[in-house]
Subunit: 156 residues, 4 copies
């Protein structure tokens, strides 16, 4: 087996690790959020509009917007972490730059700087309606890699 | 009617304004969160543990923790805003300082610096189990007061 | 005079407005910082290494790194603000992602989302030695536009 | 020698460790900043007004305000770290809540949550003129303890 297919296998294993961990996040399920894209250093999460996700003016609540941004950044980091490790959010900061409305929100988490212990991500959240895609939030996040503690096992 | 009773009426009206707005936040209801304390410049929000609120290790997800912190800070600000105004979160930053576990989380939002346009709050979130109360998150938030746009009416 | 030359004049006037304001920042002069690039929505600031800029391990101090990042973001915002306005930093957040060393630091401030009242910028700071350019800090900033208060006059 | 005098010796050694490290920060000297108070988990830094510290409107520049806040928080952390360790700022966030003016600024750094690897601080900066003391900035910071790497020796 050549290197390229090994790499492909690793990407598949990495994606499975990320999706398995995501599936164990009760909150993401409760918010109706799903992973829409995974690649090394980049994860997208979508969350369709529902009344259960609103703030007092009927837009998406900043808390839900931030929840999917935090998960998108965290899993973007996890894609680059070793298999026997786990991810923790140390801190994050979000600017809510426009009313969060649309058929769904899409959070994009990207690794901006990978490190053995700490990894820094940037997050963008878009409100999407048909073809229209409006930036509604922008964030920055610090992750910690917990080595030797799997994030992917059923009892993690 | 003397000034003191006027002030008491105003506090009651302010609390009603805050609770009415909170009741219109679909997300707070969906997360099972309730306001446990309101006074000028200070709001507490509680969220009992449920599987629907977890991250992959079974603790409260940072997104839910941040959602109640954001609402606690936002409503702490709204207590000091004029009746015909509305509150928007400009940005917030959260440090997740310990695993968020307990029978419930309690978010405490406090106004640190009130301003006509921008108000700054600090947030603490505690994990509470019986008598034990552990700090799990610490945040700072910038709010904007939208003058002339009521936060409390049914059509806000 | 056609539109294009008007636009060129405006860019020149904008750049003058930014450079005049920068020249009145005693701190930038004291730190040895200079503007190395200005275009609409984008400003670069350089700061050569000196012993006077160090922290206890001999690298650039995070305070100096943050100072040029804050100014780069602020002036990136000012490039888009109307001539009779002024810029204030509401808040900013910096991640120090690597030891800040090199012949000089270069801070890059970019407008991520322009708004009439609030504008959001992203900042990157690089440590530069010869051809090598290493990301040392990453930030996000909220600016306020003070309309009707010039940032460019000698008595501002 | 009893425990109490041991503790007193330790506090003296800790304060010396902090002041020695501070004295090696070229930037603090260049800004005219000095440590005005040290106790476990709490450090104050003062910086008198000078033209060299200003932004374009003649107030203290946010960069200098943030520099002393960052150092105050960092050294508040270092007071609690073991003698053979060093402190790094992972990230910090500052809200500039009022024009930074006065005879001097005083930054107060406090440990909010100590941890073996990561420690969280809160910072306040006041503008002081005579008896008047006005809050001008408020921040939150994440520190990393580098174990086994002294912050206090001349070659650190």
């Amino acid at each position: 087996m050549n290197t390229e297919s090994n790499a492909q296998e690793n990407v598949a294993a990495m994606e499975k690790r990320v999706r398995d961990s995501f599936d164990r996040q009760g909150l993401m399920h409760h918010l109706g959020a799903t992973i829409s894209h995974v690649e090394p250093g980049l994860v997208h999460i979508r969350m369709p509009f529902r009344q259960e996700l609103t703030q007092q003016h009927g837009f998406f609540h900043a808390g839900g917007t931030s929840a999917i941004a935090d998960s998108a950044g965290g899993y973007a980091g996890l894609t680059l972490f070793p298999p026997d490790s786990s991810v923790l959010t140390v801190e994050f900061k979000m600017n809510l730059v426009a009313p969060a409305r649309g058929e769904y929100l899409e959070a994009v988490g990207k690794v901006a700087r990978f490190g053995r212990t700490l990894t820094i991500c940037q997050m963008e959240v878009y409100g999407v309606t048909g073809e229209e895609r409006v930036l509604v939030a922008l964030g920055q996040q610090t992750l910690m890699c917990m080595h030797g503690k799997s994030d992917g096992g059923p009892k993690a």
